[in-house]
Amino acid sequence: MSIAPQSMVTIYSDVMAVLLLVGLVVISREGDKRDPATGIFGSMCLGVVLIAFGNAVRAAMEGQSYAWVVPVALAAQTVAELALLFTVYQWMLYVDYKLYGSRDHLKRKYRFFFIPIGIMALMLMVNCATGFIFSMTDEAVLKPTFVYYILISLEFLYLIFSIVSMAVYLARGGKRRFFSITPVLVPVILGTVVDLTTNYSAGALGLAVGLVFMYFSLAHAWRFDDKKSGFFNKNFLSYLEEKGNDYLGVVAFKAAGRTDKLEEIIKGELPQDSVIIHYDEKRYLFFTETDREEEIRFLADLVQHAVNKHDEKFTDDEAIKLTYNYYVRSSEEDIRQLFFKAVN
């Protein structure tokens, strides 16, 4: 069985894509299993591996004249297309979660994203019997119909929708830290251009490079992770100084008892994209964009009230025993001076 020259290029690029992603998954630091983004990212890697696998098998069948070649090529192409739909869907979820950081927001959105994808997946399965989206010639060469191009366009609409989601989020004043969709979209678009303008497929390779870039851009945030609490560590102050910031106030929470319970309450009571630094074993600093004392007190009291309720139920060793102080920044002070006011 000899492989057609143009298939050779496709197989090469697909094997490279698989190698890149397998290496990424095997060597990379184990992500936080509680974070949905970790699971979604892993699913996207799996999706791209399946796309590359399907593509490579279909390419290897091209030009062969055995009886089993056409059904194998059709099945492989269907796997690749289904995996592409799955990956695009996961991408939407990933962008949503990275922007809003909320499981509730994700739960509200995932059905909405899934309906068109589910319909397209069903259509692809029906296609195996009817060939109304694509079929294979006797030599296992892909023969797409106009429906195939509609399908591709819809998948692209999903990518465009992710750009729109980000723009809407930023327009509403959302904060984007360590997350950009550009590192993924640029290689994906380049890979698609190669797919559309040549006889070779480099789409899976583009997706794989995109995911690697995404991983690296997110990994920048690791320097600021406080692994134990899930908040930022002290190094995040340098990041705020470097990037500029508009934080005018700070609340210093101090627990005399259980800190793990306090961390849960802080996460539940304060806004999702809050900047909270785990300063030392017992102290947490919550930075606010307002310098109005009543607003700062209101936010701090949300935590204090929840802690009081907790401490009513649990006493002694289980109690949190919270105290807090707040500080505002004067016009001459910078964020580092505000920080030291809070911790000294």
């Binding site: 492989i3 020259p5 143009q6 050779m8 290029v9 197989i11 090469y12 690029s13 094997v15 490279m16 190698l19 890149l20 397998v22 290496g23 990424l24 095997v26 060597i27 990379s28 630091r29 590192p183 290689p187 380049l190 190669v194 040549t198 006889n199 070779y200 480099a202 390779l205 490079v209 690697v212 870039f213 991983y215 690296f216 851009s217 990994a219 920048h220 690791w222 320097r223 190094n235």
Partner: protein, 227 residues
């Protein structure tokens, strides 16, 4: 893809362009690490640059190979000379990189350079000598084809030595990286034997560099600062 190019050349050029794209991204994503100023961070940057040079010359070689240019013989020979030197230098730097990553002792790495540099130096002398002797590779003007000469495999002697040292170094440092390193080299050898012709060396090196950086990122960025 482009006028006179065959599938082999097109495949090579696609992979070389992807390599340059990937490595350019890596320059951006590793900028924070370079600011730390560790020996390994500096070596890593030089490896990226050397691999970009390798990908560039590799792509141009395949581009010229099937072009109608009259001077293509000289261009390809010069290109392959640069490519081969870049390849040897990258392998040498990889060994230094892992030596530092393993011990984190600058003095040891400096001592190690004095021994480890020799296979690379001898290989470079041999490659440069080929410009006058043509015993490794040359362009046959009569047939218009590129010829790998009798002693071509000597280019790989230094590479095999460095890969051998690296296998020990990576095994000691991180078993998962070791497995993926073996897998990448295995893929390269397998593809070369099954599919041949398409040159994926710069891309495989780029993938290895990506893996090396991921391995490094697993450790604490502020490790030395924090003591």
């Amino acid at each position: 893809m482009i006028m006179w190019l065959s599938e082999t050349s097109t495949g090579t050029i696609i992979l070389d362009i992807t390599t340059i794209f990937l490595l350019t991204g890596m320059i951006v994503f590793t900028s924070l690490y370079r600011k730390r100023g560790f020996v390994s961070d500096r070596i890593y940057f030089y490896m990226i640059i050397a691999d970009i040079v390798a990908a560039l010359t590799d792509g141009l070689n395949y581009f010229f190979l099937e072009s109608p240019l009259s001077s293509k013989g000289a261009l390809i020979t010069a290109g392959d000379t640069v490519f081969s030197i870049a390849f040897e230098v990258i392998m040498f730097m990889m060994v230094l990189f892992w030596d530092y990553r393993l011990r984190e002792d600058k003095k040891h790495t400096v001592r190690f350079v004095k021994i480890a540099v020799w296979p690379c130096v001898l290989a470079i002398i041999m490659i440069l000598g080929n410009l006058f002797g043509g015993y490794l590779f040359y362009f046959d003007k009569v047939s218009g084809s590129y010829v790998y000469a009798r002693w071509y495999d000597l280019i790989y002697v230094a590479v095999v030595i460095y890969v051998g040292i690296m296998l020990v170094q990576i095994f000691k440092k991180d078993k998962r990286t070791f497995i993926i390193f073996l897998l990448a080299i295995g893929c390269r050898i397998l593809l070369r034997n099954v599919l041949r012709d398409v040159s994926s060396t710069p891309f495989i090196i780029a993938i290895l560099l990506v893996f090396f950086h991921i391995q490094e990122m697993n450790e604490n960025y502020y490790k030395e600062v924090e003591g």
